[in-house]
Amino acid sequence: MPRSNALAALSLADPAGPAGSLARASELLAGSAPAWPLGWPELDAALPGGVPRGQITEWAGPRSAGKTAALRQMVSAVRDAGAGAAYVDGTGTLAPAPWVFGRWGPNGAPPFWVVRPPEPVGVLTAAEELCRSGAFGLVIAEGADWSRTPVIRLQRLAREMGAALIVVVDRPGSVPLAGFRVQFASDPHTRSCRIRVRGHLTREVSYAHDLPYRLPEDSGLPDRRAPAS
């Protein structure tokens, strides 16, 4: 087959180049960006374009500060970008309903796995396995005592595999060697959460505190359980 016919048949267009040119294989690969954007422009602007890949990000804040809301948004954005996401839940408190996304069917989308080790010490093991597999662009780990956990190996795995590794803790500064730190604090008066990046007060993000429904709007469950008035 003449080369011109092959090009016409493939019809791969380089968006940045003339029509009909073949895109390089590397350009076809998803996930070459250095960070995963959260999808909140103001927050992504405060971060280096999103949660950085290839390193550990400490995700700190007390209960109800909005850490999980941001993580859910993060998981959604990563899967939209074509990469898999995984959550190592060492606390056993992750409920399945909020993580069923309506727009992905039961057999669609890159994978989203939740690993539930029986003991907190298994959180590091699970995070390492997931990073080492290279199959997940985002790995979230919660529930370990990170002051006693050797994170160097995990840091190296994240760097080698180009994964964003988020470690969720209650108090800031709990994760030694974290390359990035994001701190959440809630303000029930203003119904917003403050997100501090690298110690600098940056953004105040309003969250949907007034919850007419139990589950998020894009949840995949048909009945979101409106509360009694």
Partner: protein
């Protein structure tokens, strides 16, 4: 080779040349030196011996699926089914290459129908490889000196004392007479001499292995995991090569470790059919990690439980790249193998009046994961950045009892984290009840906002007349 020191030093092993000068295993080293001036000695090092013999056994697994020890510096290789290995010549070349690669260029190979005859064939001078014609074991052994038989030294002394100089002389004796004079050991030796008994023993009982079975006896009993894993890898290499020739993969395998206190077995099932040695070794290592091994290990057998045709993965050039299936399989198998299938889950929709059953965790199934496509099965649109992202409900695995202070008939404060927290915002009650046919529940749920910023979900259980903390939003 000398074991021990001073007056207690004894001969642990002798060369053929030393044996011809009547140096025997077990005699005092001082006596040996006196008997043969100029005798060269080396200190016996069991660890070094085991290490070297383990390496040789691993190399020999490339030639045969069944390797067991046959004494100092000697191994039995099962040559049965060598048509699958490429025929007799291929087997001989593989065995000699393995010995050469391990540093034994002068190794000898004897091939016969019985182990006793094969062993004797290695003692013939001038033959690196000797093949006893099929069915001719007894005729081959007959003219050979009696000491080619692998009998104990006590029995050998008896045989020599009876004037039996050749194997044929022993084979000619009536069986009853042999039993009467020499006992069970003598009867066994008679069987070897007549080419009737194999003459080989091993930790796996000498039973012929199945089609896809590899087994190896350790040079000596082992207590550590490393030599076991070293030989296990060689077993898996052999199996993988054999499966590749037939275009097959394995769906599961069984490990049997022969120990001084009996065999122990462990099944290993990869998440998907494979013959990748790296993955299989990792799975076997995980399986062995938590195993309690009674006594020292004597050998290992790897037996494939089920084979299936190998399927090639064909990726679509125009689809978004998918994760490496083997990488996913390895991660999933390791995690589920360690903590059970319910440890790696994905969220699935489920509707129920009971809040903790709204949605469920489904164990991840690898084949389903690999069949996924990046398809939007819903309304087909990608997500839009939320204007106000929603807080996410988190639930305790089981609702926790909680103290609630009632003020004016409604929750006024809750006891959380060791202290009382005033209720600043309250919504409810949301009354939920149902499942009276199996496990009835009747709850009044409240959304509690505290001054400290918590957004809690608590309920009053009308059946148990108590308050419980079910979860919180974050």
């Amino acid at each position: 080779m000398v074991r021990g020191e001073g007056k207690r030093a004894v001969v642990a092993a002798v060369s053929e040349a030393a044996r011809r000068h009547e140096i025997t295993v077990g005699m005092r080293a001082a006596d040996a030196r006196a008997q043969l001036p100029g005798l060269r000695e080396w200190e016996w090092s069991p660890a070094l011996y085991d290490e070297v013999q383990t390496e040789l056994a691993a190399a020999l697994l490339a030639a045969s699926p069944r390797v067991s020890r046959a004494g100092l510096g000697a191994f039995w290789l099962d040559a049965g089914g060598w048509d699958r290995l490429g025929g007799e010549q291929a087997f001989v070349e593989a065995a000699r290459s393995a010995a050469l690669a391990a540093g034994y260029p002068e190794a000898r190979l004897g091939i016969a129908g019985t182990a006793a005859a094969a062993r004797a064939a290695t003692r013939l001078d001038g033959h690196a490889v000797y093949r006893v014609p099929p069915g001719d074991d007894a005729r081959f052994l007959a003219p050979l000196p009696i000491h080619v038989l692998p009998v104990s030294e006590d029995l050998m002394e008896l045989l020599e004392a009876l004037g039996l100089e050749t194997v044929g002389a022993l084979a000619a004796l009536p069986a009853g007479e042999v039993e009467a004079r020499l006992g069970a050991a003598g009867v066994q030796a008679l069987g070897w001499a007549r080419g009737l008994e194999d003459g080989r023993e091993g930790p796996f009982g000498g039973a012929p292995p199945g089609d896809w079975t590899v087994e190896v006896e350790f040079p000596g009993p082992v207590e550590r995991l490393e030599p076991l894993l070293f030989l296990l890898k060689s077993c898996l290499d052999h199996l993988s090569d054999a499966l590749a020739v037939e275009g097959l993969c394995l769906r599961g395998l069984e490990l049997t470790i022969a120990t001084e206190d009996g065999p122990i077995r462990q099944s290993v099932r990869p998440a998907r059919p494979t013959r990748q040695v790296g993955m299989l070794l990792s799975l076997c290592r995980n399986a062995l990690d938590g195993l309690q091994v009674p006594g020292r290990a004597l050998g290992i057998r790897v037996e494939v439980e089920e084979v299936v045709p190998a399927m090639a993965e064909q990726a679509d050039l125009f689809e978004p790249p998918r994760p490496d299936p083997d990488a996913l399989a390895t991660a999933l198998t390791r995690l589920q193998g360690r903590w059970g299938p319910d440890s790696v889950v994905r969220p699935a929709a489920a509707d129920s009046h009971r809040p903790e059953k709204q949605g469920r965790w489904e164990p991840v199934d690898l084949m389903t994961e690999l069949a996924r496509r990046a398809v939007l099965d819903g309304n087909g649109s990608a997500s839009l950045p939320p204007e106000a992202p929603a807080l996410v409900l988190r639930l305790w695995p089981r609702p926790r009892p909680i103290d609630v202070r009632i003020e004016s008939g409604r929750p006024g404060a809750v006891a959380v984290d060791g202290g009382w927290r005033a209720v600043q915002e309250l919504k409810g009650p949301e009354r939920l009840s149902g499942e009276w046919w199996e496990d009835e529940f009747r709850r009044e749920y409240y959304r509690v906002g505290t001054a400290a910023g918590d957004l809690l979900w608590v309920f009053y259980d009308a059946r148990r007349r108590a308050w419980f903390w079910h979860g919180w939003w974050d």
